[in-house]
């Protein structure tokens, strides 16, 4: 498959972060096209036709999300871009905003026009302060050139765009916690219903979209929804940014056509070029830390022997028993030397640290799992702890206000499901487990 690029096509051009270079390379065409020749509803229709699905992790169809937006008279509507990218393993939005900030600004203008929002926000993670400056510069340039502000392109459409930094909390990537934080409150997720599409920012209807989703609106409007839908496979249309990391020869951010085979992505010359130091693949987390981990024999093939593809459906095939999720595209690869118990503990430590503490199962459960996993990892565990872990995560899953509880539970459940022997090794080889930071990894691996 040819390496087609929609979002990162011009990323290598020097000076693309400035307005002049970006404009010279076809920038802001989508704004012109939308404002001059399309009604807002027609833009929404194009996005619906494109089959674009939310790139933040949940994969909800964007066009449908937009059409759910309530449109009562006399109440403003808001578009909020979720740039609070803090999932371990995911760094695609950071790359996009850092390298080609005008693409996000352009997408925000087009999407705001489609939704009828006159004020829009980019909520950016607090640690990305340097990107905030990049974006603010891009926004100032867009104002200077008449793409933001009053009466854009003389078409009578007004839009103000603001970048707001968060305080650096993972939970503020949950859309309702994000809105609370944007309002200046403590970032606790809200209780749904009402959903943001009805009652969001300051009680007004709001759409919250991921950075990559908003950026994808640009090629959709430029080339039409159908052209976008032609790329990809089945209901996974278009291209997706994948941030590959771990023990790979060439980790980094790749833009792939959805439907690329996982095998080619890991071993292909155009992509990650295989596992570093000629080691063997042990496991892979295909969609950011919160999705289930896959053992090596389920990474490139599904349980019933089909090739596994980089698409929402194929990665989820076999549900949680033998599948995973595309998630946010944080593709983490482990070689044979990595310890799954240590990695699971590390992920859980993250969730315990980032839980907002509002609802009991997540507040108490994530901390409990972290402590049990730490005991296991350091050789102080016993066999019943493994069952206890499996029980705790079953008790968290589905009982919480927001998906953080589920996100904390899934990796632990999957690690125990696929790598139980390694957990048991930590119990039976206490001395060694304290000394080395890997588990069964030195045991011979299947090809």
């Amino acid at each position: 498959m040819k390496n087609r690029k929609l979002l990162l096509e011009n990323v290598h051009i020097p000076g693309i972060e400035t307005y002049d270079v970006y404009r010279k390379n076809g920038g802001y065409r989508s704004v012109e096209k939308a404002l001059k020749s399309l009604t807002p509803d027609e833009v929404v229709e194009e996005v619906k036709k494109s089959g674009l699905r939310g790139r933040g992790g949940a994969g909800f169809p964007t066009g449908m999300k937009w059409s759910f937006l309530a449109k009562p008279e006399g109440i403003p509507r808001y578009l909020v871009c979720n740039a609070d990218e803090s999932e371990p393993g995911t760094f695609k939005d950071r790359y996009l905003m850092e390298k080609i900030p005008h693409l996000l600004v352009e997408g925000m203008i087009t999407a705001s026009y489609a939704l009828g929002a006159n004020t829009s926000y980019i909520y950016i993670r607090g640690e990305f302060m340097y990107i905030l400056h990049i974006l603010e510069k891009a926004i100032a340039e867009a104002y200077d050139n008449g793409f933001l502000g009053k009466n854009i392109l003389g078409k009578g459409y007004d839009l103000d765009l603001f970048v707001v930094p968060g305080g650096g909390a993972y939970i503020c990537g949950e859309e309702t916690a994000l809105l609370e934080s944007l309002e200046g409150k403590r970032g606790n997720p809200r209780i749904k219903p009402p959903f943001p599409a009805v009652k969001g920012l300051w009680g007004a209807p709001t759409v919250v979209n991921n950075v990559e989703t908003i950026a994808a609106v640009v090629p959709i409007v430029n080339d039409g929804g159908e052209a976008y839908a032609a790329i990809g496979i089945g209901r996974s249309t278009g291209t997706k940014l994948i941030s590959a990391c771990g023990n790979l020869v060439k980790p980094g951010v790749y833009e792939i056509d959805l439907g690329l085979s996982v095998e080619e992505f890991i071993y292909g010359d155009d992509y990650c070029q295989g596992i570093k130091n000629n080691k063997k693949l042990k496991a892979c987390v295909p969609g950011g830390s919160s999705v289930p981990i896959l053992p090596h024999y389920l990474v490139t093939k599904t349980a019933n022997g089909d090739d596994r593809l980089m698409s929402y459906e194929s990665l989820a095939e076999g549900a949680f028993a033998s599948g995973s999720m595309l998630g946010s595209g944080g593709f983490i690869v482990f070689d044979e030397d990595q310890c799954i118990v240590r990695n699971t503990w590390n992920f859980t430590r993250f969730y315990a640290h980032e839980s907002c503490g509002q609802c009991s199962p997540c507040r108490e459960g994530t901390g409990w799992m972290e402590k049990v996993l730490y005991r296991l990892e350091t050789g102080n565990g016993n066999l019943r702890d493994i069952d206890l872990l499996a029980e705790i995560n079953k008790k968290i899953e589905g009982n919480t206000i927001c998906p953080l509880g589920d996100a904390a539970a899934w990796p632990v459940a999957a690690a125990i499901r696929h790598f139980r022997d390694e957990f048991e090794w930590h119990v039976s080889h206490k001395e060694e487990a304290i000394k080395r930071n890997y588990g069964l990894s030195k045991e011979p691996m299947l090809a």
């Binding site: 907002c356 509002q358 609802c359 009991s360 901390g367 206000i401």
Partner: protein, 319 residues
């Protein structure tokens, strides 16, 4: 709107929550609630003890909901079928929540002033397990002083946010709130600051556990040794309708009048919050007009061996 809870049908207004629909039926079908407080808008959804199963979403869309939902914050739909006591999943989910609430709770009931009227005790009695599976050290917080009237025991707190809403809605200025996040979240005044406000004492009444207790009553007596009497006074700040907790002729403490769900009663269409003067400074019987004994649920430890409830009791009967 017609909804069915545990095979009992009830007619409620649109927008009612499942929990309030269940309360309309009353009795066994009512899910327990630790954080929801009907008199304080904005509470609920946090503790997850009121989880119920929705077997059918509505007449129009009879699909079941995949997850258990918090009954306090989920509005009913016409034709909704809800399972509470009759659902095994609910039972398991609730036990899970109780286990989570108890793993870091100090279980110091023998020295806790809330014992006997503690929602967590009741919940643990009904859904808790005999033995804990928690082998780790329990979480503790550094004690902080929040003034001479209210004692904060953060180790006992379940973070229901009720006291935060009391401060938001009853007092002029909130000086306390929830600091930090996750396991380390705590109720605090940030820089040790006394909570001093005419209605701040109501934080004690809404606290479902022993995290906020009355300092003027601290270690004075177990609640079940006291005799609750309804009384009133002419107060300029509040309704002055209280319960006096007495031993002989001595008033040990003063609280608001709580109903069967542990919530302050509505009297003359107003929630009968009481002011701090009534709560702390009127411990003299001469200042009160005593109406008569407060009727307490006979299952409560407080009513043990005290007096029998008369069927013809002149006082409004509570459950």
């Amino acid at each position: 709107m017609k909804v069915t809870i545990d095979d009992i049908e009830v007619e409620v207004e649109a927008g009612t929550s499942i929990l309030n629909a269940a309360r309309k039926i009353g009795g066994e079908v009512v899910p327990p609630a630790m954080c929801y407080y009907s008199k304080l808008p904005g509470t609920g959804g946090k503790c997850r003890t009121c989880l119920v199963e929705v077997a059918a979403g509505s007449t129009a869309d009879p699909r079941p909901m995949p997850k258990l939902v918090a009954s306090c914050s989920t509005p009913v739909m016409d034709g909704m079928i809800i399972k509470n006591k009759t659902s095994q999943r609910v039972h398991e989910g609730r036990s899970a929540v109780v286990e989570f609430l108890l793993i870091n709770h100090p279980l110091d009931c023998p020295v806790c002033d809330q014992a006997g009227e503690c929602n967590l005790q009741d919940l643990g009695y009904e859904h808790g397990s005999v033995k804990t599976r928690y082998e780790e050290e329990r979480r503790t917080f550094d004690p902080i002083d929040i003034g001479d009237k209210i004692k904060l025991h953060m180790n006992r707190c379940i973070l229901c946010y009720r006291c935060v809403e009391v401060a938001n809605q009853l007092t002029e200025k909130r000086v306390h709130g929830v600091m930090h996040r996750g396991e380390h979240a705590e109720i605090s005044t940030y820089i040790e600051h006394a909570i001093d406000n005419e209605f701040s004492g109501n934080m004690i009444d809404v606290c479902p556990v022993g995290a906020l207790t009355d300092r003027t009553f601290r270690f004075k007596s177990r609640v079940w040794f006291l005799k609750p009497m309804e009384a009133e006074c002419d107060c300029t700040k509040c309704a002055g309708k209280v319960v006096l907790w007495m031993f002989g002729k001595e008033i040990y403490r003063v609280t608001g009048r709580k109903d069967q769900y542990g919530e302050i009663e509505t009297i003359d269409d107003k929630t009968a919050w009481i002011c701090n003067e009534c709560r702390y400074d009127k411990k003299d019987l001469a200042k009160w007009k005593v109406i008569g004994p407060r009727v307490i649920d006979r299952h409560s430890v407080i009513s043990q061996g005290k007096y029998e409830t008369s069927i013809n009791s002149p006082i409004k009967k509570i459950n």
